[in-house]
Structures are given as C-alpha cells and as structure tokens.
C-alpha cells in the first residue's frame, strides 16, 4: 500500500462506483465536480480491483488518510493492500467538512466529523458489489459474502474489479446496512500507515517538491514590523545577483523572481527598502505583557459565573493570587508555507497543501483575478501545520497569488517561504495573560475561583467570527477554562478581555487549551497541596466527568503515581484535561537538568478518544503531542523587541525540542464504545502543567510563565 494514487485514476471518477482509467483529465474533472451521487464521492473501484479513497482532508501527519482508509476498507471488507488514497479537489458540495459546511479540517475533527459518512460510503460500495454478484450468479444478496477483497457465494468467487462494471449501473443504496462493531476487521487494529513508505524513501510529493516547465522561484521581502508597508524600493543590488530575473512590488512587500530559490532569497535580502512604519505595531512583547496584566486586574466581560466567587474569596482561609504569562508561539511546521501557481486556460492551477481547500482557492483566485470555477487545486502532502494552515484566507496563499499575478502569469511561479519569513510572519498562538484568585475554606475545600483571561481574539474579523464569538465572548480563548470545565467548584467566575494588536494570531495545536489547561492544572495542584491532599485522589474527588476520572486513574496506575519510590532528584507531576471531546491524563517524571531547566525522563499518558480507530496512530499522536507541547513549554517564545520587530528568526533562536530531550512515552488507550474523537491536539494540553507540577515538587517554585527558558521574571 503506497503513495497517492495516480491523479488520473482518481480524477476519472464520476461519483458512485467508477470504472476505468481512460477518461481524459479535463472531462473527468468536470464529471467528478458534478457527480450527483454524493455518498460515494469517496470511493472508486477500478476494473483492476484497486479501491481508491478520495480523501477530503489535508494530510499533514495526524494520519486521517490512514484513518479514513481504515474505515472504508472495513465497511467494504476490502483487502488492505488493494486500498489507495488520493486527495480531493476543491469542491464543497462533495467534500465539505460536515461540521464546517466548507472543505477544511481543524479541532481534531477529521475522523469525528466523517466517521458515519465514510462508513456509509464504504457500506454502499460493498452493497453494490454484493448486488452485482447476486445478479450475476442468480442468488439472493443474502447468500453473498465479502471477506478480504473477495466476493463469494458457495464456490463462486469474484474480485471487486471483476464486479465493478456491473455494480456501477446499479442504484446507490441510500441507507446501506452498517457493520456492528464486533464485525470490524481493521478498525481498532494496528497496521501500516498508507504513507509511511513514500515518506521514508523521499518519494512523497510535497508542494515544495513541485517542478513545472519554465517555473520561476519567488521570494518575498516582508516588512520588519506587522502592519508596515513599502515606501520605496531600491532594487539595483538585488537585480545584480546572478540568477535574479525580476523584482516587483506586491501588497505584502517586494517579490524577487529568480532561476532558483537561493538566488531569489539572496535577492530578497539584498533589496534596499524604505518602510512606512506609521501604521505598524511597534510595541514590544514586554510592553504588551504589561498592558495585558494591567487589564487582568479588572474583571472584564463575564463569561460565566456560579455562586459568589468574590464573597467566597473574601472569606477564604488561604488564597492564591497568581498572574500567568504565555508568549506568542509560532507553529514552525517543518515545511514552510509554499505554493506553485500556473496559468491554466482562463483560470489557474494551484499546487498546495491546503487545509481549507475551497475557501483558500477562492481567496487565491480573488487576488489572482481569475474565476474560481475555472481554476484547479492540486493538493499535496503538507509538511506539518499544527494550526498554521488552518485558515481559509491565508496570507501566504494570497501573497503567492500576488506574486504570480505581478509576474503577469508569464511562467509558473513557485513561492517557498524562507524559515525567516515563516517564523517572523505572524499567525501566532496569541500572547495571553491569566489572573487567578482561588482559595480554600477552613476545612480545606475549594471555596472560590476567579479567573480573568486576556488575549487577542483569533476569530474577530475573520469569516469565523459569527461562529466563534457569542455575546462578545471568544470561545477559543476560554475553552478549557469555562463551563467550570472539569472540576466541581461552587463559587466560580470567569472573565475575559479582548485585546487589539496588528500581530496576526491563529489556532495553534490545541488552541485555548494551550494556556487554560496549564492554569487550571497548576492551580488545582497547588490548592490540593495547600489542603494536604494527594494530587490524584484530590482531583478524582472534584472531577465532573467520569471519562476524565477514568484517564486520570489509568495514568496514575501505569505510572505507579504515589505507589512507588521515585529516583532521587526526580519527581512526578500529573495533569488531566478534556479537549476536542477527548480526555487525556499525563504523569511526567522530571529532574532538574544540567541547564537548569526541567529534564523530562518519561511520560505516562492515558487517553479516552472513544472507539480507537487505529490505536497506533493514537499512540503516535500522543507521543507527538507530548513532544510538541514539551518543546514549546521549555523553549517556545516569539518575542517582539523594541519597535515591534520579531527576534526569533530561525530555529537557532526559536528552539525546537531535539531527540535527546524527548522523554520515553507510554500510552494507554481506554477501551470505549463512544464515538471516535480527536487525537491530533488533545495530547498537547496536559504536558506543560504535568511538568510544572513536578517542577514545583522538585524546586518549591510555582511556574507562572512559559516557556521555562524565559526564566522566572513574572
């Protein structure tokens, strides 16, 4: 099972079961777009017996391509090695995310939103193959069975390929019978991912790898501060660089076109640009933190309240009053944002790893000045996202469109962002400040909890505003802290301040939970210590959700939390958090490293994400989430210096977790019959507080500011 199937194979589809690979590309594309049989827009069965899954989501490492293939192969009773995968074109009627109404994925929703849709698609295809066999053999459908890609009745047998032509003319069943879970053959089992081999031998095609005849390479010189614009360009030095072809102003800066990426990047660096800073964000991070923490001392817009937190806190026997500081964070996907755009008839062909395919194509076509309907998205593997690609109007895509247009579409234009542009270009996890006042009553129970969150809204001013901001409250900012989320606390108040800055912000792997889980889990840990209670038993007594308690018990059990001696100089810290409808608890074993930062030796992780579609992918996502969360908790910080200039320009300053810093990870998956939920993000939120809680045990110091490397200057 390898690679993305030949595009011709998938474009040959017309919806329903589609046979043959002979249609010319253009016509086939049109047919695919107008396919009336939507339930089967996801399955193609060729006469060669190959089953191609048309995957509607971007694949950047969380494994949905394998997950969706697993579901369809299971409902079809296909053989695993006859399965192929192809990426869907930009087409909302066929391929929209059912939860969003447009193509795209986020919030760890790939499997959650498409679980039933993919099962139906697979089951319908199976039913049609069965019906075709029954007709051919003159037996009732009930006498036909399917196993491992073979359709049979008594001694008669046929492969999918032999039946595909007959099946294609049958009506598509609208309500095919789905399997009962005890009949699953792939779901819940671990086996090879569909893309491991091409991603190991270098043959997987990413947008960065696209090469078209006559293609030129563009690099963009962007402004030194957010919101700055070009006043004057002196391009002589850039044009003198061998290989540089041309220089053009574009709305986001100045584009340099060259015969290779290196000449383009050198050209961009050699431009002498006079910038207009009059409308730019010129505050430093330090200034913004000061303003945010001042705001945190006022109540803000009320998000929710129960009981009377103020009165309870006034009467509390013991109290914590803490302010927490979280910096801007870049996603830093391994592949920087990149696009190849070429003229194609009256439209354009866009090569990309797009997360919101239709929205992004519309925005790109808008800037390019060509009709969306005449244009084509050619989707490729994407080298990571972590939220970086999670916006329909992505600055990088429209910038690439501007580059292609400014060049007059005279040649295909490839724009690969430099790592410097990637890290300094914004779309950060918002800088965030929390203030929490919490206290215990005389009996050691939690008397009250008052929390204020201060940040720039991700959704304000975007197409998601109506969905994400209700009564002035930004759901992303407070998720994980609201709904008195996960603990029974009688007197509770949560407030919010929305701040303004020109720094573009965006979802970052687990979004609001990146900070709300840290605050909730470190404060509860401190309160339990104050009350002389065990961190696990104390949480169990307060948790509202049984599934949260379940993962906490499991993580405690596999780590031996409180039940075994820990090596000298080490301590265990625990955290539990619900996000994206999944529950995760983690225990971290930590010591003080040679550099004075936490050294994390091992992490025990328990996850409840409903039915485990592919347990090994779940384990891999927990490992990856822990590594990603830990790396940023230790080192991650984007800093605006004097004048608003970003200081971290490459991976030397924006430090990444490296192999020697990666803890061993042991994952336990809770056995569940609940609907499957996300795993791409929920592994992230608990790790930072688990480490911080161990750190407090080791050093006596509560952690109020991330990353650890920033030092304790809160």
């Amino acid at each position: 099972m390898t690679a993305v199937a030949n595009r011709r194979a998938f474009l040959a589809g017309t919806g329903g079961l589609t046979i043959g690979l002979t249609l010319p590309l253009g016509g086939a594309r049109a047919q695919a777009m107008s396919a009336p049989l939507q339930p089967n827009a996801f399955v193609r069965v060729g006469t060669d017996g190959l089953v191609t899954v048309i995957h509607k989501h971007v694949e950047f490492g969380q494994g949905p391509a394998t997950g969706v293939t697993t579901i369809i192969a299971d409902e079809m009773d296909a053989a695993w090695d006859q399965m192929r995968i192809a990426f869907a074109p930009a087409n909302d009627p066929l391929y929209k995310n059912l939860a969003f109404g447009t193509m795209g994925v986020g919030g760890s929703s790939a499997i959650r939103e498409s679980w039933m849709q993919m099962r139906m698609a697979g089951a319908a295809a199976r039913a049609m193959l069965v019906e075709a066999a029954a007709k051919r053999w003159g037996v009732p459908a009930s006498a036909v069975s399917v196993a491992n890609g073979v359709v049979s009745s008594g001694k008669r047998k046929a492969g999918f390929g032999e039946l595909a032509a007959d099946a294609a003319v049958l009506p598509v069943p609208q309500n095919p019978t789905l399997k009962t879970p005890d009949k699953f053959v792939y779901i819940g089992k671990t086996f090879a991912k569909v893309d491991s081999k091409p991603k190991t031998d270098g043959s997987a095609l990413f947008t960065q790898d696209v090469r078209l005849p006559g293609m030129v390479h563009a690099a963009v010189r962007r402004p030194p501060a957010f919101g700055a614009t070009v006043k004057k360009v002196e391009a002589g030095a850039a044009k003198a660089i061998p290989g540089v072809i041309d220089v053009k102003p574009i709305p986001s800066g100045v584009a340099v076109y060259a015969r290779d990426t290196w000449a383009a990047q050198r050209g961009a660096a050699a431009l002498e640009v006079d910038w207009d800073l009059s409308k730019a964000e010129t505050r430093s991070s330090a200034q913004m933190f000061a303003e945010y923490s001042a705001a945190a001392r006022t109540p803000g817009r009320q998000v929710e309240a129960s009981g009377d937190a103020a009165a309870a806190l006034a009467a509390a026997a013991r109290k914590i009053d803490a302010t927490f500081y979280f910096p801007f964070l870049a996603h830093g996907p391994m592949e920087t944002m990149d696009y190849v755009i070429a003229k194609k008839g009256e439209g354009i062909a866009v090569h990309a790893g797009s997360q919101f395919q239709v929205g992004e194509m519309r925005a790109i076509c808008g800037v390019a000045g060509v009709p969306f309907e005449k244009s084509e998205l050619i989707q490729h593997y994407a080298g990571g996202s972590f939220g970086r690609r999670a916006t329909p109007v992505m600055f990088d895509g429209t910038e690439a469109a501007a580059c292609a247009r400014a060049y007059g579409f005279a040649a295909p234009v490839k724009v690969v962002a430099s790592r410097e542009n990637d890290l300094t270009g914004g779309y950060y996890r918002p800088m965030t400040v929390h203030r929490v006042q919490a206290g215990l009553d005389g009996a050691g129970s939690i008397a009250g909890w008052d929390q204020v969150i201060v940040a720039k809204s991700i959704m304000k001013g975007t197409p998601f505003e109506a969905m994400g901001i209700k009564d002035g409250v930004d759901g992303n900012m407070v998720e994980g802290a609201n709904d008195t989320s996960q603990y029974k606390i009688g007197n509770f108040r949560l407030g919010q301040h929305l701040m303004d800055t020109k720094v573009p912000v965006l979802w970052w792997r687990s979004v609001g939970h990146t900070h709300t889980a840290f605050v909730k889990e470190t404060v509860i840990d401190e309160l339990l210590t104050m009350a002389g209670q065990d961190p696990v038993d104390g949480r169990l007594a307060l948790l509202k959700h049984e599934r949260a308690a379940g993962v906490l018990r499991k993580a405690a059990e596999i780590s031996g939390f409180g039940k075994r001696a820990v090596k000298k100089g080490r301590a265990l810290g625990v955290a539990v958090h619900e996000s994206f409808d999944s529950y995760v608890a983690q225990v971290a074993e930590v010591s003080v490293g040679a550099d004075g930062l936490p050294k994390v030796h091992k992490v025990w992780c328990a996850v409840d994400c409903g039915i485990a579609v592919n347990p090994d992918i779940i384990r891999a996502q927990m490992e990856g989430g822990i590594g990603y969360g830990l790396g940023h908790a230790l080192y991650g910080e984007i800093t605006l210096g004097e004048g608003g200039q970003v200081q971290e320009t490459n991976f030397d300053k924006y430090r990444s977790l490296r192999i020697g810093e990666m803890p061993d990870v042991e994952v336990a998956i809770i056995d569940s019959q609940e609907k499957p939920t996300g795993v791409g993000e929920p592994g992230v939120p608990p790790i930072a507080p688990a480490v911080a809680n161990a750190w407090r045990k080791l050093t006596g110091k509560a952690v109020r500011r991330l990353p650890f490397a920033h030092g304790d200057n809160s």
Binding site: D201, G202, S203, H217, W262
Partner: protein, 155 residues
C-alpha cells in the same frame, strides 16, 4: 562555471555560481527533491545528504566544495545499512507529516555506518541536528535500534 561531481553513483554537473548551496542545486536544478529545505542555516537537518559517505547539511555546503566528490541523496542511498534503516522506519510507522524524514533517515544511515551498534548517547549526539517538529523522536530512536539489532531501554 561548471562544477562536476558524482551524484548517486553517476556523474553530475552544475553550471552556475559555485557558492550556490548543494541543496538548491539538487532541488531546483537537478530535480532531486527528496532532500528538503527546512531552515537553510544548518539547524534542522532536513537537507542531510552523504558527502563521501558522511552526513552533511547540504544547505550550507557550497556546490563548489563537492567538486570531484561523491554525493548521495535519499533517492540514491543503498546498501545493507540503508535498507535496514528504511525497513525499520516503515515497520513502526515513524513518519507523521514526513517532511523531516529523508533527513532523519540519511542521518541514521550515516550513524549506523560509522557506529553499527550505537548507544543511546550516540543516537542523541548523531541525531541532535535533525529536528522533527512532529516529535517522532520516540520512534526514530526505536527504529535506529531495530535497524542495528540493539535492545534496551533508556535509564
């Protein structure tokens, strides 16, 4: 100006500025795109190739420096160690987004060629220059050990 070298066992040439990094010669001129750009400043390892059999960051290697030498990329790397590493990688599904992995695989092959039975510290040192933003490190370590046939957990 023409620079000639051996590329995956065959003669190759680049006509242009000898200061051009090998990475861009491979990717933009010779069409070998398995070697990736991740940082351009020797911080991430995505561009790792073998120069005369040793690990080398192609993003900071001027093509002029490889004149007359042998360059091996992910597309051409072969032999027992290479096959063992690639098989181990696929067997435990190391890749997530996959973008760093050709560099990881090249570094791992370089490590095992120099040290067929590496310790955990050897692995940490040899692989420290290869960032994986997806943090597939647990599996990278395991796959290297599987390929080398060494067992044992970390202390």
């Amino acid at each position: 100006m023409t620079t000639s070298f051996q590329l995956n066992g065959k003669p190759a040439a680049f006509d242009g500025d000898p200061e051009t990094p090998l990475l861009w010669v491979l990717r933009d001129h010779l069409g070998l795109t398995g070697t990736k750009y991740g940082c351009g400043v020797a911080q991430c390892g995505a561009c790792t190739v073998h120069l005369d059999g040793k690990n080398r960051r192609s993003c900071v290697t001027p093509v002029g420096m490889v004149a007359g030498k042998a360059v091996t990329t992910i597309e051409g790397v072969a032999g027992k160690t290479a096959e063992a590493v690639k098989a181990a990688w696929v067997a435990i599904d190391v890749p997530q987004c996959g973008f760093c992995q050709s560099g990881q695989v090249m570094s791992a092959i370089g490590l095992l060629t120099a040290k067929p039975r590496p310790s955990d510290t050897d692995i940490d040192n040899a692989m420290a220059g290869n960032i994986c933003r997806c943090a597939t490190y647990v599996r990278i370590r395991q796959a290297i050990k599987d390929a080398a046939g060494v067992k044992g957990a970390r202390a």
